[in-house]
């Protein structure tokens, strides 16, 4: 992995003319015989063109790239491709991540036999399930979280704690929108547990807050944070600055008693 990152840096330096003659020769010799390195060259060329078009390169790098790779036919073609992709970006909204239900619907549309089987199975389940499953009532736990931007003045680094217990089936978390931030027509929420992130759809929202419901079975003890994205009418997303933090604590160990609803 480290060597891959090293190669990535080396290839960028090569394409931006930052290598000595000797280093350039070494990297070109490797490009002739190493498949992975040549693949890295292809990837980096695409990324540098993207950065060139977005004017993200330093002035000297921009000039070098323009006067070298971009004068080659391949460079010119890739430049036009990047511009075309850029022009489409503004006309095609990026797809939202489909929920499992949407994916399921799409699957059924393309597989009518599966639809028939699924319908029959669902009917059987509806009739039989009361006899099979015993209801295990679970409660929701509701909490409101302030954005770290709104919290900054308090100087209190502690985050709200939320109990994790088998009785609580879901967390209903209201994310309070700070004043002055852009409101969206919808919202996307990203939950980060410091080892992985996952994208969630907002359950509902109003002018000042966004509600997100998270099943507790997918959670574990530890610190969490939410990042919030406002979805604009044209489908594009705008990140909302700041975060929403909380900590899940095993209620058998926690003494700070929460208020289940």
């Amino acid at each position: 992995m480290a060597s891959r990152n090293h190669d990535q840096a080396g290839i960028r330096a090569y394409l931006l003319g930052r290598l000595s003659d000797e280093e350039q020769q070494k990297i070109e010799e490797r490009l002739m015989v190493e498949d992975d390195l040549f693949e890295e060259l292809e990837v980096s060329k695409g990324e540098l063109i993207e950065e060139f078009c977005a004017k993200e390169l330093a002035q000297s790098e921009h000039q070098w790239f323009k006067q070298h790779y971009l004068v080659s036919p391949e460079g010119r073609q890739s430049h036009v491709f990047a511009l075309a992709l850029d022009s489409l970006k503004s006309s095609i909204p990026a797809p939202k991540r489909r929920t499992w239900f949407e994916r399921f619907q799409a699957f059924l549309k393309t597989h009518p036999l599966a639809f028939a089987i699924a319908t029959s199975t669902a009917l059987v389940l509806v009739v039989v399930s009361p006899f099979i499953f015993r209801s295990t009532p679970q409660t929701s736990y509701a909490i409101s979280l302030k954005n770290t931007i709104s919290n900054r003045t308090s100087g209190d680094a502690r985050f709200p704690t939320v109990p994790l217990s088998p009785d609580i089936g879901e967390l209903r978390i209201t994310l309070l929108l700070p004043e002055g931030v852009m409101r969206g027509t919808d919202y996307r929420v990203v939950l980060d547990d410091r080892s992985e992130t996952r994208s969630l759809k907002a359950t509902s929202h109003d002018e000042n807050s966004v509600l997100v419901v998270v099943p507790t079975k997918s959670l574990h003890e530890g610190p969490y944070l939410f990042n919030l994205y406002a979805i604009k009418a044209d489908g594009t997303e705008q990140p909302i600055n700041g975060e929403y933090r909380f900590e899940l604590i095993d209620s058998s160990r926690s003494r700070s008693s929460p208020k289940p609803q």
């Binding site: 002739m32 015989v33 070298h68 004068v71 010119r76 073609q77 036009v80 970006k89 095609i92 992985e196």
Partner: protein
Amino acid sequence: MTTGGPTQDEFEKLLRWLDHDRDKAGERYEKIRYRLIGVFSSRGCCEPDALADKSINVVTLKIDWLLENYVGDPALYFYAVAKKIFLESIKPKPSANVPPPDPQPPEVEQLASHLDECLDELAQSDRDLVLRYHEFEKQEKIRNRKRLAEELKFSLNALRIKVCHIHSRLKKCIESRLREQPKE
């Protein structure tokens, strides 16, 4: 070339030098040529294909000597010749006045319309991936790509490579549409 290009016999020997299996030799030949073009392009050559072919011809003309004397990966010999040819090519015109790329080339609009069609030909998951990958700018773009990689359970590098492969497919699709298009 007044000395004439390589003969069929020399070319056959070159292929055998690359690999005894003719199919594999053909693949190896194409791979070396493609990489030479990649290196020449990176150095800013205006005619990388022609320089790659010239390098290959020079190597082919030396095949008898190579068969007897050269030890090592043939690709490296091709590179050594290509480097000399590159240096010769820039001697008479050290700062060739090649115009820089047009910041807004006229063909972008046409290409964008083909790209749109080619995106529709991709599998839904690939189409979504490439569109989401190119969202945002600067720092938010980087964060977006990290999120996307985590969501798809890829390493960031695997994601970069996957998107690069999708780009290659899109470029091929666009090229074929441009070829099919009636010329004015």
